[in-house]
């Protein structure tokens, strides 16, 4: 049984939401890394990465997010992270400085707004 989940939805032209859930440790990231990178960084779009369902975020998961965000940025796209009320994940993102380089939001509307689609 998989310990990590990955779902995606194209919300509009040029806007994709990717929902990650479960444990993003070495095993979990190994299960989804290639698919996540492919979904997040293959096109110059706005990508909302929803981490509200992540129960454990290790540095290997952070590396995966940074790698994809850089690749997306180089293609002309943008990434935003949604954490909701997930305090541990938010604290982890802030501790390593990711929150300073990839926008992090607790509300989905604000995250979509940052990607230029606040009308959704």
């Amino acid at each position: 049984m998989s310990s990590v989940s990955l779902e995606h939805e194209d919300l509009a032209e040029g806007l994709r939401r990717i929902r990650l859930g479960g444990r993003l440790d070495m095993v979990g990231v190994g299960e989804v890394e290639m698919r996540f990178t492919s979904l997040a960084a293959s096109k110059p779009v706005g990508v909302l990465v929803d981490l509200t369902g992540v129960t454990f975020l290790a540095s290997v998961g952070l590396r995966c997010i940074i790698h994809s965000a850089k690749a997306l940025d180089q293609k002309g796209g943008r990434m935003a992270l949604l954490v909701g009320d997930n305090a541990l994940v938010q604290s982890t993102l802030e501790t390593v400085g990711i929150a300073d380089i990839i926008p992090v939001f607790s509300e989905e509307a604000a995250a979509l707004d940052s990607l230029g689609r606040g009308d959704l």
Binding site: S59, L88, V96, G97
Partner: protein, 150 residues
Amino acid sequence: MTAPPVPGSLSLEIHADPLEFRRASSWLRQSGASLAVPDVQIDRLELCLNEVLANLVEHGGAATAQHPIQLLLEAVPLAGGCGAQLVVSDRGEPFDSGQAGVKAIPGSLDEASPGGLGLRLVKAFSDGLAYRVVDGRNELRIAMHWTPGS
């Protein structure tokens, strides 16, 4: 509101395998509960444990895979507070997490590098790190402190 920790210690041996790290996480949660260590401290300890074990797999060398990793969680009495410490003992390459420097926080996505994130997390989420070599084994003590009733 939290009660003071229950005196005692619990141990586990694992192999240097990522699947074993999940067993270690489960053990840590169960052991923390039985020693009355608060969830907040266990969350932080679990992240530290995962990062230390991941570092061992990536940088510990061949000896890491040949010898079990020993884990010990113990409640530690402190003057005016409560404490717990997680001891990770292994036979990998010597590495003192407490003395190792961490990279500066990147100012932009361009500057962000994937290395050093785990060490930064361990230093930020622990209340103390102590490293020594005992009988050829590395021994890293990761400390957590809290105030009873907080």
